[in-house]
C-alpha cells in the first residue's frame, strides 16, 4: 500500500483554481520530486497535504486514512512534517531549542509535572535534548547548538529547518525548496544528506525544487505541475524529454 496518495485533489481560492485534480502516489521509501514553473501550485500541494488548507474536493490519503481537514498539528503527529519555502524558524530560540520543539510532540510527561519540576520531566527534557543533538549531527549543525536561529547564515537555517522537521520523527518529510539560495557545493552536500536521511532513517521524502540538476540527480520519480494541473509524471529521464514539460518551462516553439 502506498504511504501517501492524492486523489484528484482540488482547491479553489475564489475563482482561481490553484490545484486542479492532482493525483499521485508515494510509495514507502520514495525520493519524490514535485516541480513546475512559478505559480504552478507546488507549495499549495504541500499546504493541502499538511492541513494548512482543506481541499475543495478530492481526497488525501495517508496510510489508507483520509487526512483532509485534519488540523496541521494532528497531521504532524500522524507522521508528516515539512519545511517552509520562506524559512520559518523560531528566530529568538537557540538552534537546539528549535529542534526540541520538533521533538516535543512525542514527549511523554505532563505539563503539571513540568510546572512542579519533577525528575521525570527533567529526564524527558534531557532525552529530547540528546535526541535533538543527534539530529543536529545528521545535518552538521552540532557545532552551534546554542546560537540563536536568527543569527545563522542562510544555508544553515535551511538545514536547521530539516533537522527540526526530522525531530518530529516523520514517516514522510516534505521539503519546500531546500536548496534555494545555496551555492553548488552546499547543494551537493545537501543532496547527499537528503539521500542519507532516506537511506538511513527510512523516511519517505517529497521535494519541491527549482534547480533542475538538483531534482534530476536526487529524485527517483517526479511529478510536474503547471497552472495547477499535472502535466507529466515519471522517472527523471522521461521528464527531461517530455515535450509538455519543455514547453511549460521554455514556452512553445515558435
Amino acid at each position: 500500500m502506498s504511504i501517501l496518495e492524492l486523489q484528484a485533489a482540488t482547491i479553489k481560492f475564489g475563482g482561481l483554481i490553484a490545484v486542479n485534480e492532482v493525483s499521485f502516489k508515494l510509495e514507502k521509501g520514495d525520493l519524490f520530486g514535485l516541480i513546475g514553473p512559478n505559480g504552478a501550485g507546488k507549495t499549495t500541494c504541500f499546504n493541502l497535504i499538511t492541513g494548512v488548507y482543506k481541499p475543495t474536493s478530492g481526497d488525501i490519503i495517508f496510510h489508507g486514512r483520509q487526512i483532509q481537514g485534519t488540523p496541521p498539528n494532528r497531521i504532524a503527529q500522524l507522521g508528516i512534517c515539512r519545511t517552509f519555502q520562506n524559512i520559518r524558524l523560531f528566530p529568538a530560540l537557540s538552534v537546539l531549542e528549535n529542534v526540541v520543539v520538533g521533538g516535543f510532540l512525542r514527549h511523554r510527561t505532563t505539563l503539571a509535572g513540568a510546572l512542579l519540576y519533577l525528575p521525570s520531566s527533567l529526564r524527558e527534557t534531557r532525552r529530547l535534548k540528546d535526541e535533538a543533538m543527534d539530529y543536529l549531527k545528521i545535518l552538521d549543525l552540532d557545532g552551534v547548538p546554542n546560537a540563536r536561529a536568527a543569527d545563522l547564515p542562510y544555508g544553515m537555517q535551511r538545514r536547521l529547518e530539516i533537522a527540526r522537521a526530522m525531530a518530529t520523527k516523520p514517516e514522510l518529510l516534505l521539503l519546500d525548496e531546500p536548496a534555494a539560495g545555496m551555492n553548488p557545493q552546499e547543494k551537493q552536500d545537501l543532496m547527499e544528506t537528503v539521500k542519507r536521511i532516506r537511506d538511513d532513517h527510512g523516511i519517505t521524502i517529497l521535494v519541491i525544487e527549482h534547480d533542475m540538476r538538483f531534482v534530476m540527480n536526487l529524485c527517483e520519480r517526479i511529478v510536474v505541475l503547471d497552472h495547477g494541473e499535472e502535466i507529466a509524471h515519471g522517472p527523471p529521464e522521461a521528464i527531461r524529454n517530455d515535450p509538455k514539460v519543455i514547453s511549460a518551462y521554455l514556452g512553445e516553439p515558435v
Binding site: T50, V52, P71, P72, N73, A76, Q77, C81, R82, F84, R88, L89, F90, P91, A92, L93, S94, E97, V100, V101, G102, G103, F104, L105, H107, T109, L111, A114, L115, L116, Y117, P119, S121, L122, E124, T125, L128, K129, V144, N146, A147, R148, D151, L152, P153, M156, R164, A165, T168
Partner: protein
C-alpha cells in the same frame, strides 16, 4: 534521592524566607507593611502577565481584570460566608480563598483567551483591555457588592508571608516551565504560530493554557489583596493598573522573569516611596514648581546627550564612559540654568507642589527614559543565573552566541 533532598531544602528555604520576612516587617508601620505587600503582589502580577505576554506572545493588556475577579469573588465569599462555615482558622480560609480566586480568575482567563485564537496583536490587546473595563463597570453597578463605593472585606487577614509565598510559587512555576521542554511550545507560539503548528504544537491549547495559568495567579493575588486591605473598590482595578502591570513586563524585558520581578519591585516601590517623602518640617515634601520643570529639562538634556553618545560614538570604552559623565554633568548644569530662568516666571516660582502630586510625573518620566535608553527592557530577554554572575567576574569568558557566517 539527592534531587528530593535539594527539592525539600529549597521548599523549606522559601517557606522560611516568607516567615522570616513576616517577622521582620511584623513590627513595621502599616504603611511600610503595605509597601512590602504591594511589591509582592505586583511581582506575582507582572510575572504572570509575562507568561501570557512575554513568553507566549499573546498581547494581553487587561491583566487587572483577573486581579479584580479574584479580589471581588473571594471578598464576597468571606464577607457573606466566613461566619457560616466550619473553617474558623483564618489562615486556612485565606489559603482556600486563594485557590477559589485563582479558579474564578482562570475561568475569566479562559473566556478572554478564546478571542486570542482568532485575533492577533493590537486587536487582541484592545479586546483584553475592553474585557477588563466591562468587568470593572459591571462591578461598579452592582449595589450588592458595594457598587462604586467599594466593598468591605471582613474579617481582614494581613499576611506578608502568604503574599510572598504566592510570588515565589508564581516565579517558580514560570521558571520551571522555561527550564523544561514543556516551555518550548509556549516560546515557539510566540515566535511563529504557523511553524509551531506544523511541528505538531497544539497552538490553541498552548494559548489557552497560558491565559489560564496567568490569570489564575492574578486571581490569587487579588484574593490576598482583598483580605489584606479589607476594602476594595472598582477603581483599584482600573485600566491604569493594567497599564502599570504591562509596563513592568516591558520595562523588565519582555520574556524575562528576572526582569519582571525587578521592574515590578521598582515600579511598585517608587511611587509609594515618593509618597512617603517628608520635608524638613515633617510635613509631606513640597517642591517649587520651577524646580520640577528644571529637573524635567535636565532629564531631557541627559537623555538626548546619552542617546547621541550611544548611537554616534563607537570607540574606546573609557572615552565613552567619560562622554557619558560629561552628558550627566551638562544635564546637572542645565538644571540650574533652567531653574534660574524659570524662577522669573511667577506662576512657577510661587507654586509649591506637594510630592504626592509629583510622584506620578516621576513615574512617567522613568518609563520614558528607560524606554528611550534601553528599549529592549532592563534585562532584555536574559535571565538571572549563577553562571551569569560567575561570568561577570571572569572577564572575557562570557559565552558567545554569535556565529561567524
Amino acid at each position: 534521592m539527592r534531587f528530593w533532598s535539594i527539592r525539600l531544602a529549597s521548599v523549606l528555604i522559601a517557606l522560611g524566607a516568607c516567615v522570616l520576612l513576616q517577622a521582620l516587617v511584623g513590627h513595621a508601620s502599616d504603611y511600610e507593611q503595605r509597601i512590602v505587600v504591594l511589591v509582592g503582589l505586583y511581582i506575582t502580577l507582572s510575572v504572570s502577565l509575562n507568561l501570557i505576554n512575554g513568553i507566549t506572545g499573546q498581547f494581553s493588556i487587561g491583566h487587572a481584570a483577573f486581579y479584580q475577579v479574584g479580589a471581588y469573588l473571594t471578598g464576597y465569599l468571606t464577607l457573606n460566608y466566613f461566619s457560616k462555615q466550619p473553617i474558623h482558622n483564618m489562615l486556612l480560609w485565606v489559603i482556600l480563598m486563594m485557590f477559589v480566586g485563582a479558579i474564578g480568575a482562570a475561568v475569566a482567563g479562559f473566556i478572554v483567551g478564546l478571542p486570542s485564537l482568532r485575533l492577533r496583536g493590537d486587536y487582541l490587546a484592545i479586546v483584553t483591555l475592553g474585557f477588563g473595563e466591562i468587568i470593572r463597570i459591571t462591578v461598579q453597578n452592582q449595589p450588592a457588592i458595594g457598587g462604586s463605593y467599594g466593598m468591605n472585606v471582613t474579617p481582614k487577614y494581613q499576611s506578608v508571608a502568604l503574599v510572598w509565598l504566592l510570588a515565589i510559587i508564581c516565579i517558580a512555576v514560570c521558571r520551571n516551565l522555561l527550564k523544561t521542554a514543556h516551555g518550548l511550545p509556549f516560546l515557539s507560539v510566540r515566535e511563529d504560530e504557523v511553524a509551531s503548528q506544523a511541528m505538531g504544537v497544539n497552538v490553541t491549547r498552548v494559548k489557552v493554557t497560558a491565559f489560564l495559568i496567568g490569570s489564575a495567579f492574578a486571581g490569587a493575588a487579588g484574593a490576598l489583596l482583598a483580605h489584606f486591605e479589607g476594602f476594595i473598590t472598582p477603581t483599584t482595578f482600573g485600566m491604569d493598573v493594567s497599564f502599570i502591570i504591562l509596563t513592568m513586563v516591558v520595562l523588565g524585558g519582555t520574556g524575562s522573569i528576572t526582569g519582571s520581578i525587578f521592574a515590578a519591585a521598582l515600579l511598585a516601590y517608587l511611587p509609594e516611596y515618593l509618597r512617603g517623602l517628608k520635608g524638613a518640617d515633617g510635613q509631606p515634601l513640597m517642591i517649587p514648581g520651577s524646580n520640577v520643570v528644571a529637573w524635567l529639562v535636565a532629564v531631557a538634556v541627559a537623555v538626548t546627550l546619552t542617546r547621541l553618545v550611544m548611537n554616534k560614538y563607537s570607540g574606546d570604552k573609557l572615552k565613552k564612559l567619560a562622554l557619558y559623565l560629561g552628558a550627566f554633568a551638562l544635564a546637572v548644569v542645565s538644571r540650574f540654568i533652567a531653574a534660574f530662568f524659570l524662577r522669573m516666571i511667577p506662576v512657577m516660582a510661587n507654586k509649591q507642589i506637594p510630592i504626592d502630586q509629583v510622584r506620578m510625573v516621576i513615574f512617567a518620566v522613568t518609563l520614558i527614559v528607560i524606554m528611550l535608553l534601553r528599549p529592549q527592557g532592563i534585562f532584555a530577554h536574559h535571565e538571572f543565573s549563577w553562571s551569569w554572575v560567575k561570568g561577570l567576574f571572569k572577564r572575557g569568558e562570557v559565552p558567545h552566541s554569535a556565529v561567524s557566517a
